[in-house]
């Protein structure tokens, strides 16, 4: 039983450290309380060391806390476009338009979520938990207050608050690639960026003005980080492609 508890607490350590620390504790026949304090002490020391660098602060504040708003907006867009497609007029005439809208909003969500997850994991993997907390915090807060409706003829459709979390599965793929030090192929990076640029041009002219486009481009910095990583001068030979 004691060994199970110690093994569970040791999951907070990376695999190679876990192996060495659990082996050392077993070799010295350390009692349960000592083993738990030893592991927790090690975890705290590692975290403290991590936070002395600028990287976790940057990943948590400049990346997670700011891009969460963009990701939530994109998630709701995808959900609204899916609802539009489903409840819209049953005419083949509208299919290409609705399909294009849905595909573009989905690609926008994929680009923002994948690149944000990738950048968070790549910039500071040791404090990924903190970045994820700051990212999910506003989403959970908005979940409680969420109330968005769309209207179709005589129907009023309320979007599900779970739509706010649509970005999560795509972000997990990005995190996985970032943790494995993989990098996207240049063509994939362009595919991630293009939907945003295509969308921003008409939006700048029609709806929200140049400030909106500028802010979106700033919030999209994880995508630009991917572009920078694909440059030949930053490529290391050992790094494999993720996609």
């Amino acid at each position: 039983m004691n060994r199970i508890i110690v093994d569970l607490v040791a999951l907070m350590l990376p695999p190679c450290d876990r192996e060495a620390v659990l082996g050392d504790l077993a070799e010295s026949s350390a009692p349960l309380a000592y083993s738990l304090f030893a592991i927790l002490g090690f975890v705290l020391r590692r975290q403290f060391r991590c936070w002395l660098s600028w990287r976790p602060w940057f990943a948590a504040i400049a990346l997670a806390y700011t891009t969460t708003w963009l990701l939530m907006g994109n998630s709701v867009d995808v959900n609204a476009d899916a609802v539009n497609w489903y409840w819209g007029p049953a005419s083949w005439h509208y299919v290409p338009y609705r399909l294009t809208d849905f595909a573009l909003s989905f690609l926008r969500l994929f680009a923002a979520a994948w690149s944000a997850g990738f950048a968070a994991a790549r910039i500071s993997r040791g404090t990924l938990w903190a970045s994820m907390l700051l990212l999910l915090g506003p989403s959970i807060h908005c979940f409680e207050m969420f109330h968005v409706e769309t209207h179709f003829d005589h129907h009023i459709i309320q979007l599900s608050p779970f739509a706010l979390f649509l970005y999560l599965p795509m972000m997990i793929f990005g995190i996985r690639a970032g943790l494995h030090n993989l990098r996207p192929r240049p063509w994939l990076t362009l595919l991630l960026i293009i939907p945003y640029c295509v969308q921003l041009i008409p939006m700048t002219k029609i709806q929200n003005g140049p400030n909106f486009a500028l802010w979106t481009l700033i919030l999209l910095w994880p995508c630009w980080y991917l572009v920078w990583l694909t440059l030949p001068s930053t490529r290391r030979t050992k790094e494999a492609y993720s996609l």
Partner: protein, 109 residues
């Protein structure tokens, strides 16, 4: 310049030679200095020394007395040996003349 704890780890790892790994270093250090050495302090310092290129670590074999877990073996690099030698010489030089130093001028052996 090394820190005191860094120097202790380098010295113990150098004396243990092929048998230098986490638990052995900790036991030796506690026996020789009489001070407690926590696992967290040991491994974070080993990581720091490795990042500086003063130590090299790798995962060794698993043994039954360790519950089938592998050892994290440690070896002092030539750069580490040089840094430890510099630290030792600096401490020896700066201690000459101090009341507790056995090599102070005029001290009886």
């Amino acid at each position: 310049m090394l820190g005191e704890f860094e120097y202790l780890i380098l010295s113990v790892a150098a004396t243990l030679n092929e048998d230098a790994y986490g638990a052995a270093i900790r036991t030796q250090m506690e026996q020789k200095t009489g001070r407690r050495c926590s696992i967290g302090a040991l491994y974070t310092t080993i990581e720091r020394l490795e990042a500086k290129g003063l130590l090299k670590t790798w995962m060794g074999d698993a043994t039954p007395q360790r519950g089938g877990r592998a050892k994290r073996m440690v070896r002092v690099t030539p750069k580490g040996a040089h840094a430890a030698k510099e630290f030792y010489e600096a401490i020896t030089k700066i201690s000459v003349g101090a009341a507790w130093a056995s090599h102070r001028p005029g001290a009886k052996a």
